[in-house]
């Protein structure tokens, strides 16, 4: 039974079919990418650790739909693939990076937790919880000094909400009135601890008032709700009105890391989440019901994405590892 999304807000209502389709495409690409990575990781061919974003797509898609490549900047967390895709990074390069190949976004030198594309305003996934917010304050400061209307968005989790760097950044962005959107993705768990337990005060968005900025809570299974809330915050920032804290409540379908036995979760929790809290499926159903899109049209989008991911994996597997000389390069600007 198709689930309808909440009453569509004014901004979302103004989206044309092309824009709606793009929202869907971004979410579906993220889901397909992460699901495929789950399989590929299980083969043992991916080095190191990956942290999958499936279940949280609406946050990345709904927020990044408001951003442009030139003047807007994002930074992300260790669970960064979704934000990279939503910001327009090349999926093939991303996959190669995760496989540690020289054709990767970072020439194989960063890996899953450090995928970045500075030319597209993506300052990187970040392996340090809370590492992103201070950097985005800086990016926003640069935009403010240049007066180009650019905004900075920092995506972080419920775990980072308690990190000193995040709290300092909320304060600094308020004191300096920086064009920042702080997106706290509350997926219920900071690694193996419940966010309900770890976040004192019971509400992430509720902390915003303490810093004098708006705090909005939004259902992260509803991409149009995220789009609407983010739109308000981005508009405020561009107009010089300062930062906003957006708490997006969602769930992650996979573990904290791939290989996580997830014994800290309820017995049927993940299964229930996949059935009832799937933002991609909900949006697709909404699109179909809206009368603007046919199933076959949407199937075609799904197939294109499937092919893109297949090709990305094949290309990644076929690509070469970095040259040995790459070990010693890019430490400094000249050597």
């Amino acid at each position: 039974m198709p689930q309808s999304l909440s009453t569509v807000g004014a901004r979302a209502a103004a989206l044309d079919p092309g824009q709606l389709l793009n929202l869907y495409r971004v979410m579906r690409t993220i889901r397909a990418f992460e699901d495929r990575l789950h399989e590929e990781f299980a083969t043992g061919d991916i080095p190191g650790a990956v942290h999958l974003y499936a279940g949280q797509e609406a946050a990345a898609a709904g927020v990044c739909a408001h951003l442009d490549e030139e003047r807007d900047v994002i930074v992300s967390s260790h669970r960064g693939h979704g934000h990279c895709i939503a910001k327009g990074l090349d999926v093939t390069e991303m996959m190669a990076e995760i496989f540690g190949k020289r054709t990767g976004s970072c020439a194989g030198k960063g890996g899953s937790m450090h995928i970045a594309d500075f030319s597209k305003g993506m300052l990187g996934a970040n392996g340090i919880v809370g590492g992103g917010p201070p950097l985005i304050c800086g990016a926003a400061l640069a935009a403010k000094i240049r007066n180009d209307g650019g905004v900075g968005v920092t995506f972080f989790g419920d775990g980072a909400v308690n990190q000193g760097t995040t709290l300092e950044s909320l304060n600094l962005a308020s004191v300096w009135k920086l064009p920042v959107l702080f997106v706290a993705e509350n997926n219920g768990y900071g690694e193996g601890a419940a966010s309900d337990w770890a976040v004192a005060g019971g509400s992430i968005a509720g902390r915003a008032g303490g810093f004098g900025m708006p705090g909005i809570t939004v259902d992260g299974t509803d991409v149009l709700a995220v789009y609407d809330a983010a739109g308000e915050a981005v508009e405020l920032a561009r107009a010089g009105g300062g930062p906003t804290l957006l708490e997006v409540k969602s769930t992650r379908f996979y573990g904290h890391f791939e290989g996580d036995p997830q014994t800290y979760r309820g017995k049927d929790e993940v299964r229930d989440a996949r059935e009832n809290l799937d933002s991609v499926r909900r949006f697709r159903q909404w699109m179909a019901v809206s009368g603007q899109f046919t199933d076959s049209e949407l199937d075609a989008v799904d197939d294109t994405i499937s092919l893109l991911i297949d090709n990305a994996v094949a290309a990644a597997r076929a690509a070469d590892s970095p040259e040995s000389s790459a070990l010693l390069t890019d430490v400094y600007s000249r050597y």
């Binding site: 900047v73 930074v75 990767g104 976004s105 970072c106 020439a107 194989g108 030198k109 960063g110 450090h114 970045a116 594309d117 500075f118 030319s119 300052l123 990187g124 970040n126 392996g127 340090i128 590492g131 917010p133 201070p134 950097l135 985005i136 304050c137 800086g138 990016a139 400061l141 640069a142 935009a143 000094i145 240049r146 900075g152 000193g164 760097t165 300092e168 950044s169 304060n171 600094l172 004191v175 300096w176 390069t329 890019d330 430490v331 400094y332 600007s333």
Partner: protein
Amino acid sequence: MANRKISYREAINEALVQEMERDETVIILGEDVAGGAGTPGEDDAYGGAMGVTRGLFGRFPGRVLDTPISESAFIGAAIGAATRGLRPVADLMFMDFVGVCLDQIMNQAAKLRYMSGGKARTPVTIRAMYGAGLNFGAQHSQTPYPIFASIPGLKVVVPAGAYAAKGLMIQAIRDDDPVIFCEHKVLYDEKGDVPEEAYTLPFGEASVERDGDDVTIVAIGRMVALAREAAADLAAAGVSAEVIDPRTISPLDLDTILESVAKTGRLIVADEASPRCNVAADISAQVVSAAFGDLKAPIRMVSPPHTPVPFAPCLEDLYLPGAEDLARAAKFVVEWSR
């Protein structure tokens, strides 16, 4: 153009002024770099804790930014802004405060270029004061630069006097890599001959402060002045000492040191950082590794003892190496034989 005698503090201020005039992307941020933020009294009330940035707030509107006391946030912001086309000079104030923001320096600034496969550029300069001698006690008197020197991706600059301070600061701002600029707090009033015009001093090039044949004295930061004093005393005793100031400990000009050791065969290294894993230990190990055959005596490292910096003036005096400690170490290696 003319030289005139100005202080270490004035030299750094002048470097900042000249670079800010030349390049509009240079901004300054930190606690009380102007001073008076939001207060009923004067703006520019401090000009930095030690007055190094005095006058810049009024001269460069919108480019000198006071911050709340949140090093992680504003040092991180300086780094983030650097990746987006600005050249921030962030004031960490006391280098001892690095503890509260080390992640942004160590895991972000130092590594963004490498992790991104060369795509990130982080031209940030972080300046801070280090060193004992003003009775500020253990948490405001340390010499933490070995931490930075050990981190790949950072450059670490330690000017010994006003002339080096100006040239190295201008170089630091123009450099495209993250630079940690280490100012010894006791040196701020020390005057030196400084050209009026802007000039740069290259990183990774040591300065031979005094030529000599019998012993090489490598000294860092404030130890350079003590080394010159010791060399004068040694000369009176018939020992000819060569004094080398590395100026930057990362990159380090090992070649100049090795050339000197090839000539003298004897080396002492004076470093105010705590003795375990300090730069003296690093230089000594590198010299032994590269030039064991040139050495006629063991290397002597002159550093404070392995203790926090004490408060009582008599104890702080004991803590700090003096010129006589350097001279004694030099005589030891000169007189040493199997």
